[in-house]
């Protein structure tokens, strides 16, 4: 029986497609980061404290995207952080206690260790590119964490730190990919 999706003139392609696997596990466990994001959303979904606005509100997703843009642009002044009106502030102490960046830290540590092993074999110019970019991201993360320390109850600051962590993990994954192909 022929497969109507595959041209009749390429039986080799049809045969190869039939033998393709239907599953492949990722090279590392992605659950800690997924779990952290899921938990972050739980916090953001908490009721807004005080005032007449007591409905359930979400931090706009575009905030995280904007945060990432600011991070990578290397903006150090952080004047942008002046909180716009209307953002929810989570004051529930339980929410504050349950929110943690530990999963991000563990993943970053794991990826950094792997990158350190792989980058030793990179040529100096490539290594310099990676190290310079990583420094920029880490400086922005440090600034974001400092801001959160000043306003620990601010959902906005938490979202900003989370965006910074995700930016760092994304970079580390990409850098590891580059380093891996270089080593091979």
């Amino acid at each position: 029986m022929t497969d109507p999706r595959i041209p009749d003139d390429d039986p080799r392609l049809r045969e190869l497609l039939a033998r393709l696997p239907d599953a492949q596990e990722p090279a590392r466990d992605l659950w800690p980061e997924i779990h952290a994001r899921v938990e972050a959303e739980r916090v953001q979904e908490l009721p807004v404290a005080g005032g007449a606005r007591r409905g359930r509100r979400m931090i706009p997703l575009r905030f995280a995207a904007a945060a990432a843009i600011v991070l990578v642009a290397g903006t150090a002044t952080l004047t942008w952080w002046s909180r716009p009106t209307g953002f929810p502030v989570v004051t529930d102490s339980m929410a504050t206690a349950t929110y943690s960046f530990a999963s991000y830290e563990r993943s970053a540590e794991e990826l950094s260790t792997l990158l350190a092993q792989r980058s030793a074999k990179l040529d100096p110019a490539t290594r310099e590119v990676l190290e310079r970019s990583l420094r920029t991201i880490e400086e922005a993360l440090a600034e974001a964490r400092a801001a959160l320390a000043r306003e620990p109850a601010s959902a906005e600051m938490r979202a900003f730190v989370e965006a910074a962590w995700r930016q760092k993990l994304d970079f580390l994954r990409r850098a590891n990919d580059v380093a891996a192909t270089w080593v091979l």
Partner: protein, 185 residues
Amino acid sequence: MPMPALVPDPAASTDDLRAAQRGDAEAFERIYRSQVGRVHLLALRLTGDPVKAEALTQDAFVRAWRKLGTFRGESALGTWLHRLTVNVFLLDDRGARRTAGREVVDNSLEQLAGARRAESLDLDDRMDLERAIAALPEGARVAFVLHDIHGYTHEEIASLSGVTASTVRVQLHRARRRLMEVLDR
């Protein structure tokens, strides 16, 4: 109102589905573990890049967590997750990924990675079909993966991708021709 019966899925228990729908993260983790291989392979084929595939896999499961309450069990969970992953890739986050303002860092990385991928492609005589698919241009790769591997129609792909069905046919033709060239080497 009683919830409808869920379509059995050999990879995910009904109890876990119900619990995850009520907000049980541990149950959702079990669902993740049972489904991640299929979602990740789909992501790998759609993106052609292991790093982007990890990001897409994560995005898909986070989206699944948000939308799990809308899952009524009219299809198997794996089928639902498959569609959701394709939607995340084609409809939502692809544009954001392209314009997320990460150019400062990403451009240098992408150039380095791209050069290495192209080089290894030429040097490796044992390149398999998966690697050949990953090396296709994005439009051709997505058309091939969704049509020839997963059975989407030209019209479905066109609708999801925001292009015409004719464009999908052209991309599919290019993909097949390119893959046949690789296989003929």
